[in-house]
Symmetry: C2
Subunit: 123 residues, 2 copies
DNA sequence: CTGTATCCTCTCTGATACTG
DNA sequence: CAGTATCAGAGAGGATACAG
C-alpha cells in the first residue's frame, strides 16, 4: 500500500521537504560529477553562504546522501561526495529539472494569462 | 543546454519551490483521481485551513496546474481539477513518493548512525 | 581553508472572525 | 458553501564576525 501523504512524518513528506529546501538540490547536483571541497562547492553555487553550505551538507550527510572525508593535513582538506544513495537520488532530480525545462513555458504563459485576467477584473 | 540551476530565477528553482511548499503536493495528489470541491479537498487533507487551501489552489491555478470551475447555482458550487500539465506533474510526484518509500529505510538507518556517532563524540 | 557563533529579518503558516 | 481579512508566532535563511 501507498504511504500516507497526509501524515507529517510520512517518508514522502521528508523527502519532499529536503527537495524543497533552498540548497540541498543544488548541492547534490553540484556533487553529481565528482567530489568537491567546501570552497569548490561554494564557488559553483552563487549566493550560498558558508553557514548555509555547512548546514546543508550536514543534513545531507546525516541522511546518508553525502559522505565527508577529512584529510589530516596542514592546511586541512575536506572533501564531499555523493554516496550510492545520493547518486540514486540525482537521477530523480534530473527528471525534475527536465520537466521544469520542458514545461516552464506552459507555466509562464499560464501565469501571464492569470495575471492579465486578475488585472482586468480588478475593482 | 541545461538551465542554470545556480540562478535564483531558474525554472528548476521555481518548480522545486512549489514542490517544497507545505500543501501543493498534497493538493495536487488529492486531485489526481478527479475533480473535487473546496470542502472535499479540505476533508481529505487533515490539518489544512481554509485560508491555506485557497492560497495553495490560487498558486496552482496561476501556474496552470489546476483549473477552477464556478457553477452559477444557489448555493454556489466550485470544482477543482488538474489540467493536463497538472496530471503530467503528478507522474513525477509519484516517482518521488516511490523513491521515498523504497529508500526511507536507508535514510533512517543513516540518521541513526550519524546521531549515534554525534552523541558518542559529544564533548 | 573550513567552518562556527550571533544576531536579525522576512516569509510561511496558523488562528480567528467575518462576508457574499 | 466558499471563501476573505487580519493578526501574530515560528523558523528558515542571510549578514557578519570570529576560530582552529
Amino acid at each position: 500500500m501507498r504511504g500516507d501523504l497526509y501524515a507529517a512524518d510520512c517518508p514522502s513528506r521528508q523527502v519532499l521537504d529536503r527537495i524543497g529546501d533552498r540548497w540541498s538540490v543544488l548541492v547534490v547536483s553540484t556533487l553529481a560529477d565528482g567530489t568537491l571541497r567546501h570552497g569548490g562547492i561554494a564557488g559553483r553555487i552563487h549566493g550560498i553562504t558558508p553557514k548555509m553550505l555547512t548546514q546543508t551538507l550536514r543534513g545531507l550527510e546525516r541522511d546518508g546522501l553525502v559522505h565527508r572525508t577529512v584529510y589530516a593535513e596542514v592546511p586541512p582538506r575536506v572533501e564531499y561526495g555523493l554516496t550510492d544513495l545520493g547518486h540514486d537520488l540525482v537521477g530523480l532530480m534530473r527528471r525534475l529539472e527536465d520537466w521544469a525545462e520542458t514545461h516552464i513555458g506552459d507555466v509562464e504563459s499560464a501565469r501571464s494569462d492569470y495575471d492579465a485576467r486578475a488585472t482586468a477584473s480588478r475593482k
